[in-house]
């Protein structure tokens, strides 16, 4: 009989446990549940999530209205409708928010799964006591965090029957901290100077107490305003803070001397605390700036990263600015960063080769990286560092010495440019053929709107499957310079061997175009753009 009872008990509890584990696994595998939870998690905690920004503004609005209602209520008769609004809407929303925050803080079902896996692994019994303990501890961890306490206390004033709870209206104000970032930064800055501020506070507290004690000793008997030690300390604090209401004033000689002393200490400590806070902000400024840049990058679509603000970078940045390309400059040198900032560029001081720095950069958004310092050693080092983190971004680097091209390319750069070489080439070309030089210069820099451009043959467009002779380039005011074909054409001798394919200069009219071929055409940008537009339109 006894045995039977035992068996029955175990099966019941075992069934509950099994159900619990099954439910935990069900939640773990349920995509929809995960998605919903993730949405709420981001809504509550992810500063870069747009719905959170809207949510924050909404909550701020609620806080402000509810506080106004509660304050108005203190001395006036409240419209019952408003009272209901405060209780049923605002307080309820706060309560729901509190529950959601508690819910998204951690995944309880993971604790169950963990325990289950551990139990199976060690071949011991599944301990439901353990699970409950762990789950509660984890939630308790959240409940006792300062923000959670504020949230909880902010719900209380909604219960208006208990008048004493109204004092908690200030916690509704504290809730504002949750929804604004700048105040948090301020608190963070102060927290950084915790040590200095504590020392200062202790010192001021000590002097205040001593001052209060002394005045109590000297004047407790002959000054009718100072009857208790509390009065004495109150006077001391009012004096030391240089507020000096004047409701209590010293009457004895000794008291006056003490007052003078306290005022001098007061001025000193106030200026000291101001300077501590000010210096904390300057220290934090660099970090805040970097933080801002990282956030800006996150909000951009496509960013170019320029490492090293050299002379070349300066001109390149001007070009990018002109073309409305987003870019970020990183340099180790304070002066160069200053120079870049003065021009209105987003510039960041830091060592790009440092892991900590690379980790916070959002490489998803960076499509091109330019490594432009005037030192090949740092160039190759930077290329190596960013290559590991960049997600397929194109890397273009300077090679200040021709000998280093291969090293920099081996490090991972897609292109290496040698400034002295390209300049020398241009000079030599200018000496030999000055008119051709002008033509090439105009084409490469797009100075006179004359450009050479590359047009890809899109599938099913007016170009696909046509032969060159069928296209009236003259009508478009274009010259067909050549065609880059992916597949070698057996009929023709290719003119140039290029990595990506076979280039045919001035192709005969019967060359057939196929999808993926690239036409190199010459013309004015208007003509080229119009031609491109026609092709893209025809492919749809």
């Amino acid at each position: 009989m006894k045995f039977f009872k035992y068996l029955k008990e175990t099966t019941v509890s075992e069934a509950v446990i099994k159900l619990l584990i099954a439910f935990a696994f069900y939640l773990d595998g349920n995509v929809k549940y995960q998605k919903i939870k993730d949405f709420f998690r981001r809504l509550m905690n992810d500063d870069d999530y747009t719905p959170k920004k809207i949510f924050d503004i909404f909550m701020l609005f609620l806080v402000v209205t509810s506080v106004s209602i509660l304050l108005y209520d203190i001395k006036h008769q409240l419209n019952p409708w408003l009272e209901d609004f405060d209780f049923y809407v605002v307080t309820m929303i706060f309560a729901v928010e509190y529950v959601i925050r508690l819910w998204v803080y951690n995944d309880t079902h993971k604790i169950i799964i963990e325990e289950y896996e551990e139990a199976t692994f060690l071949e011991r019994r599944f301990s439901i006591k353990n699970v409950i303990k762990k789950a509660l501890l984890k939630k308790w961890e959240y409940i006792k965090s300062p923000f959670a306490i504020i949230d909880f206390l902010a719900i209380l004033p909604g219960f208006r029957s208990l008048r004493i709870l109204r004092i908690f209206v200030i916690f509704r104000l504290f809730k504002i901290l949750r929804y604004t970032r700048s105040i948090n930064t301020f608190i963070e800055v102060l927290a950084n100077k915790k040590f200095e501020l504590t020392i200062l506070l202790l010192a001021v507290g000590f002097v205040t107490f001593i001052g209060g004690a002394i005045i109590y000793v000297f004047e407790a008997h002959n000054n009718p305003k100072i009857s208790t030690i509390f009065d004495a300390i109150y006077w001391s604090l009012i004096t030391i803070s240089t507020v000096g209401y004047g409701d209590i004033t010293p009457v004895s000689e000794e008291g006056k001397i003490l007052t003078m002393f306290l005022i001098i200490v007061g001025i000193g400590s106030i200026s000291f605390s101001t300077s501590i806070i000010a210096s904390a902000f300057t220290e934090k400024l660099q970090e805040l700036k970097a933080d801002r840049v990282f956030r800006i990058i996150k909000n951009m679509e496509d960013v170019y990263l320029i490492c090293g603000y050299s002379n070349e970078a300066e001109i390149l940045a001007q070009r990018f600015k002109k073309e409305n390309v987003d870019f970020v400059i990183v340099d180790m040198d304070e002066e160069r960063i200053q120079k870049a900032s003065e021009r209105g560029y987003i510039a960041l001081k830091g060592d790009i080769t440092q892991k900590t720095f690379l980790k916070v950069l959002d490489f998803d958004k960076i499509s091109k990286i330019f490594v432009l310092t005037n030192n090949d050693i740092s160039n190759s080092f930077i290329v190596l560092s960013v290559k590991a983190y960049s997600k397929g971004a194109e890397i273009i680097s300077l090679a200040n010495d021709e000998k280093n091209i291969n090293k920099i390319k081996k490090a991972g750069a897609d292109y290496a440019v040698v400034p002295s070489r390209v300049t020398a080439l241009l000079m030599a070309e200018y000496i030999g053929n000055p008119i051709t030089f002008e033509v090439i210069d105009a084409i490469l820099t797009e100075k006179r709107n004359a450009i050479i451009d590359e047009i890809i043959v899109i599938k099913d467009s007016i170009l696909d499957g046509k032969i060159v002779g069928e296209i009236d380039f003259d009508k478009y005011k274009l010259i067909l310079f050549g065609v880059l074909k992916r597949n070698e054409s057996p009929l023709l001798n290719e003119t140039l061997q290029i990595e990506k394919g076979h280039f045919y200069f001035n192709p005969p009219f019967d060359l057939k175009l196929e999808e993926g071929d690239i036409l190199v055409v010459m013309g004015y940008s208007v003509s080229v753009n119009y031609f491109k537009y026609q092709i893209e339109r025809s492919s749809i």
Binding site: V417, A424, M427, V439, I443, I452, E454
Partner: protein
């Protein structure tokens, strides 16, 4: 055509390497550069100072290339050269954008700013890698394609013709493209053919063409041989 290169640092050395050795005179102020240039078997002249007497040591030359390492000296050199040879072609390297106008005031024919050139190069790599490759191959590599400037001789078969009428035939017959023209009737500057203006070709005009070197030569020969443009 004799070219005098003033300065033999990185830039001077590279420019020299792209030009024909026998046309060059290397002029140096620096002893180290002198040694380096002599090792590479260039004609080297060492001057001690930038003044009229010293520069007179350099023999006849048609083009001066000022690529001294020191920007101040380079500018002073340009001034001196312009003073001595008012009509000579002077090409100078400028390292600081703020100094460009000073060189222009000094009367330099062509200024080249290495930083700008590099930045341009990077821009082209970004936007048109294929174009860059094609142009570089054409200009700088040893292959059969080349740019050329062709002056129209008197009484050639093109004299008096309109560019649009002959463009297609020339491109098919000689496998070359006419991309620009210096139409002396209009201006001394290059006009791109694609601008749409139908230029009339006259003697003395210059055609900018791209094509096979042999074909260009054949075209040039034919221009002289086959006369009878003007009826």
């Amino acid at each position: 055509m004799k070219i005098a290169i003033f300065g033999f640092d990185d830039y001077g050395e590279k420019v020299a390497s792209f030009l024909n050795k026998k046309d060059l005179i290397i002029v140096v102020l620096d002893e180290k550069e002198e040694v380096k240039a002599r090792e590479k078997l260039y004609d080297v002249i060492k001057i001690h100072d930038i003044d009229d007497d010293e520069i007179a040591k350099v023999e006849e030359f048609d083009i001066a290339l000022a690529v001294l390492h020191d920007e101040d000296k380079n500018l002073f050199l340009c001034l001196t050269l312009r003073d001595l040879f008012p009509d000579m072609k002077i090409i100078a390297k400028v390292s600081d954008k703020d100094n460009e106008y000073k060189y222009k005031l000094a009367g330099i024919n062509k200024l080249i700013n290495p930083f700008e050139v590099t930045a341009n190069r990077i821009m082209t790599i970004l936007k048109k890698p294929l174009t860059l490759k094609v142009i570089e191959e054409i200009i700088f590599q040893d292959n059969k394609l080349s740019f050329a400037e062709i002056t129209i001789p008197e009484n050639s078969f093109l004299d008096g013709k309109y560019i649009k009428d002959v463009f297609k035939d020339i491109s098919a017959l000689y496998n070359l493209l006419i991309i620009g023209i210096v139409d002396k009737e209009i201006s001394e500057n290059v006009q791109f053919v694609t601008k749409g203006f139908n230029h009339k070709i006259d003697k003395g005009d210059i055609l900018i063409v791209v094509g096979d070197i042999d074909e260009i030569e054949r075209f040039k020969d034919d221009l002289v041989m086959l006369s009878g443009g003007k009826e």
